[in-house]
């Protein structure tokens, strides 16, 4: 088979309608299957916009975008894509288990044979006992775990994550980063992970995509695999990671990030 491309963007323009102009312009990117790509950049650089184009939530204005060799629409219709939002977007009237099985209740999809059950996924996310709770009874970290479990139940081939841990405290965020890495190792799902945190981008990513703003475009792609072990891991205090973060920081400064 060889290395197939999960996502292939060529000269892609994406925006919220032709009138307001393109947020992303002349955007080229190849994401091989099984990669964990983190995306970082200043506000308005089109990080989330790109995820939404891949998820078929936004139509490209021009250029081509292929998802698993097909149109985003076809990939979305096959449930090859799952999305995790910054706010967990759990439905408050459904229990945790019912939230995880929401993908079975809409869009005409049934559970694939051999697919993990909601309870399996709860255990995978380390919260096996919380299935009967309502979202209002969970902490922020627990809610994001449930949101990830819901994203995984349709066994997607691409997982799109839009700042999923942005609202969590540092310690919870570190723990969920490690669990996401473990999950990625076990499933080898292609993951696009948008973040504001340089640490998170460098620590999680096989590669880090740095975007520049106005208009949104690729500023640099930094490969992190050289400094990590075969499992894609590195200690948070490792000097190589610290210097990689310094490099990302100067990338961001160069492309005009404020603050």
């Amino acid at each position: 088979m060889g290395a197939t491309l999960a996502i292939e963007a060529k000269a892609l323009d994406v925006g919220y309608g032709p009138a307001s102009g393109a947020v992303l312009q002349k955007f080229d990117l190849d994401v091989p299957s099984g990669e964990l790509l983190t995306v970082i950049g200043p506000s308005g650089c089109g990080k989330s916009t790109f995820l939404r184009a891949v998820a078929d939530l936004l139509q490209p204005l021009s250029g081509s975008l292929k998802v698993l060799g097909d149109s985003p629409h076809a990939a979305r219709s096959r449930r090859d894509i799952s999305f995790v939002f910054q706010d967990s977007t759990l439905l408050p009237w459904r229990t945790v288990l019912e939230n995880i099985t929401l993908p079975h209740d809409v869009g005409g999809f049934r559970q694939k044979p051999g697919a993990p059950t909601a309870q399996d996924l709860l255990a995978l996310m380390g919260i096996p006992a919380l299935g009967g709770r309502y979202p209002s009874q969970l902490s922020g970290g627990q809610r994001q775990r449930v949101a990830i479990a819901r994203a995984l139940i349709s066994q997607p081939r691409i997982l799109l994550m839009d700042e999923p841990f942005g609202a969590l405290d540092e310690i919870t965020r570190d723990r969920l980063n490690d669990e996401l890495l473990r999950l990625w190792r076990e499933t080898r799902t292609t993951i696009l992970f948008v973040t504001h945190s340089i640490m998170e981008a460098a620590y999680l990513g096989n590669r880090v995509l740095v975007l520049a703003a106005n208009p949104g475009r690729v500023h640099a792609i930094r490969d992190m695999r050289g400094i990590k072990d075969g499992r894609g891991e590195i200690a948070r205090e490792h000097p190589a990671l610290v210097s990689a973060m310094a490099e990302l920081r100067s990338d961001l400064a160069a492309c005009g990030a404020k603050g």
């Binding site: 939530l57 979305r76 939002f85 977007t89 009237w93 229990t95 869009g107 005409g108």
Partner: protein, 252 residues
Amino acid sequence: MSEAIARPWNSILPVAGALSVIVAWQFLLPLAGVPSYIVPTPTEIAGIFAKESALLWRNFWPTLQEALLGFALGNGVAVLLAIIFVWNRYVQAAYFPVILFLNTIPILALAPIIILIFGLGQMPKIVIAAVICFFPTLVNMIRGLESVSSSEKELFRVLSASKWETLWRLRLPRSLPFLFSSLRIATATAVIGAVVGEWIGSDKGLGAMIIQATFNYQSGRLYAAITLCSMLAIAFFLVVVAVERVVMRYER
């Protein structure tokens, strides 16, 4: 903001407040020289309840029926129409202004027309109660159905949910807090609607009783009928709150 009231006092104080008003009414009004044919004392009203209970209950049931059916009809139509409006923006753009205009007609002006159309039975009272409940629920329900967040909409799109599934599994549950807040208000307005309907043309019901008692200077009977009206609205309100507690149990 002042601090919250501690445990036993938060239930004792409202009862004590109500009792103090009743005691003042009982003893201060006669002292002030207010004659009992204008304002009878609480004990006189209680006496009417004991003496004329059969008459009071006979007039209570029709009002209860009219308020209940009007409540169901008005809110039911409002919910259906809100769904249609949110389902199709063009229908909403065309007809919401018409409803807005109709809502500006005072219910007292509308009541004789409704009686002209539906005659003198219970039906016009039910319709008046329905009309008076209808508009707040329509507006609240539209707001509730539209209260979904952009990420919720995106979630349902990524899952390829149909318009119907998005309505049933997202918009309707989202609208429930809005619906219940307007249903609570509608409990009181439905009773008002039934009573107003009875004023205009009826020989039974609490509204009719209020009119007759007023003309005959039967103040005790008048106040007893008013008390029953408000007790009906309160009971109705408590039922809605109880249903809300069960339906919305997910909010702790």
